[in-house]
């Protein structure tokens, strides 16, 4: 069973979250949220993501959830054309919410917002790729109605 109690902080301040495009000043908090999830501080990586996905870019989205100036979560994705032979579709390749802000609908709002962006660009499918052993993120995307895509990820060791 997946267990994660709704945090006190999340219960206290419902609904005050604004989803907006990332700004350079948010990056430190995004790096911190990601480091909390993955255990790695990847400042250079996020700097590069900001450069490529920040601002008003046609096919790229980097959104944050702002609650009174505190960044509670982020989502990153883009529209990819004809990747693996598939018609243009939206890809979400990063999502994260602060542990003390979880289960209050923030990731749902972030995903809704990025999907609205995809729809505005005329695409009708959104995809993501997840670690099989991460039931938390898998159940989040499943709860949003996502099902297995008609692809199978493959890999091999290059030694």
């Amino acid at each position: 069973m997946i267990s994660l109690k709704k945090s006190a902080a999340a219960r206290r301040t419902p609904g005050a979250t604004r989803i907006r495009g990332v700004q350079p000043g948010d990056l430190e908090q995004v790096v911190e949220i990601d480091a909390g999830i993955t255990g790695l501080r990847k400042a250079a990586y996020w700097g590069e993501i900001l450069r490529r996905y920040g601002g008003a870019r046609q096919q790229r989205f980097f959104l944050v959830a702002d609650r009174g100036g505190r960044i509670e979560g982020y989502v990153v994705g883009d529209v990819r054309d004809w990747e693996f032979g598939s018609p243009p579709c939206g890809w979400v390749f990063g999502v994260g919410v602060r542990p003390d802000a979880r289960l209050s609908g923030i990731a749902t709002q972030l995903l809704d917002a990025i999907c609205d962006g995809f729809r505005r660009l005329g695409v009708s499918t959104v995809r993501t790729l997840l670690a099989r052993d991460n039931p938390l993120v898998l159940s989040f995307f499943r709860s949003q109605g996502m099902m297995a895509a008609p692809f199978i990820p493959l890999e091999k060791n290059l030694d």
């Binding site: 069973m1 997946i2 267990s3 099989r132 052993d133 039931p135 898998l138 159940s139 499943r142 709860s143 109605g145 297995a148």
Partner: protein, 146 residues
């Protein structure tokens, strides 16, 4: 991962209860809806009761009601009550000798390679069952009804 009849029945009944959390349902009602033997269902419900997913209602008529959290109980939580999911089941009998032979692959090596592929499929099935909550499945039922 092939689900046994009882597991399938358990999933259907848990979803029946989860769809109406406050309502008391009789075993006979569910057995009739899914055209299952009431005897089988009674056993399944006892197992679900012991796991705290349903609670037997007191008084005349009997029946059960849902006692879990639809947003946190996953399909795997139900499945593992009825299936042994711990052992890697490749479904392939491993026979023969492990020692390398000059005359090509041994039976063990061939069966081992088939086992690796079957295990891969099993792992995907398990991850899928672990990621789908009862609430998510109920939403899927509603979507498919249109």
């Amino acid at each position: 991962m092939k689900l046994q009849k009882n597991t399938h029945l358990a999933l259907c009944s848990v979803l029946e209860f989860a769809a109406r959390p406050g309502t008391q349902l009789s075993a006979a009602e569910i057995a009739e809806k899914y055209r299952m033997s009431p005897h089988h269902l009674a056993k399944v419900l006892r197992t679900l009761g012991r796991a705290g997913l349903v609670r037997a209602a007191r008084g005349a008529g009997g029946g059960y009601r849902f006692a879990g959290n639809t947003r946190r109980v996953t399909l795997m939580d139900v499945i593992e009550l009825f299936e042994d999911i711990s052992a890697p089941k490749s479904g392939v009998r491993r026979s023969g000798r492990r020692t390398k032979s000059e005359a090509g692959a041994t039976a063990w090596e061939v069966e081992d390679a088939i086992g690796v592929v079957l295990l891969e499929i099993d792992e995907i099935a398990k991850a899928t069952f672990r990621s789908i909550t009862l609430e998510t499945l109920l939403k899927l039922v509603a979507r498919r009804r249109g």
